[in-house]
Chain length 169, copies 2
């Protein structure tokens, strides 16, 4: 694909996430795109991302849903505001809650397809539902509540006070 991924629009100082940061050389560097009203990400797990031999580690599946969910949230908010993803100020989302139902063992060695659908956009919150499939078979379902990044997570303004409860919506 020549189209830029959602994650390629993240500002440099917010591109170090282990799951989706293009500047994290040790991380997964997932790439998410629009596909009509849905979003899609393809990811090939490493051979060592195993649970029981032959199957993908559930923590990786949760991670893919998480980062595809926050990427989808940002892209959906830009779209809802009629903004280009390279317009200022940048939008970056973090996860308030993550739910994953593991429906069947996910085979390792094949690309996974993660799809997202936006269920709600309200103020600072975006709710995303996701599926993870392998070889056309649904393996997991996820639900992500993403919130626009609180200011205390902006590099240089870090402290450990939670502002999410102040901005639950």
């Amino acid at each position: 694909m020549t189209e830029k991924a959602f994650q390629d629009y993240y500002p440099d100082d917010l591109s170090h996430c282990y799951g989706c940061g293009r500047l994290n050389e040790f991380g997964h560097q997932i790439k998410s795109y629009w596909d009509g009203e849905e979003t899609v990400c393809h990811f090939l797990p490493e051979p060592y991302h195993t649970a029981i031999p032959g199957f993908v580690y559930g923590g990786l599946i949760a991670s893919l849903i998480d980062c595809h969910g926050t990427g989808t949230a940002a892209a959906a908010k830009y779209r809802a505001e009629g903004r280009r993803m390279d317009s200022e100020p940048p939008l970056r989302y973090v996860t308030a809650s993550l739910h994953v139902d593991f429906l069947r063992p996910t085979p390792i060695g094949v690309p996974l397809e993660i799809r997202g659908r936006v269920k709600e956009i309200k103020n600072r919150k975006v709710v995303v539902e996701a599926t993870v499939s392998a070889e056309g078979e649904l393996c997991a379902r996820g639900h992500v509540v993403a919130v626009q990044m609180p200011e205390n997570m902006v590099p240089g303004k870090a402290h450990c006070k939670d502002t999410r409860e102040e901005h639950p919506e």
Copy 2:
């Protein structure tokens, strides 16, 4: 600690999990122990396990809750049956569902404490609630529904049919 961790009792062929397998050289190799009626695991994230710089990646937090949850499930079932963890047949749990509420940004660079409490043991299912704290501050809460490993995940018997729905309890 000289005590063996729950994960050290897993059979060799079920010890390759990226989160908790002692034989996965690339993985996290978490170690969980009893602490009275609770279970506990300490884990120091790597510097590259970052979300926004300064904070721990949520996918790692989900992974720690997941694997500490399945370890707690196995240990609790042995205890409920009055069995030693080295007795046969071995008990190994997989995750049916995982929920994580991220309560505040989790600081990176300090050990995390993951604590588990068993909420329910019923037939093949164990429900575990977990907390993740850093420097004494609660950062995330988790809820894991673990089920005894279905036979189709036993190495050598692998196929992708889901038996979990046949054994929801």
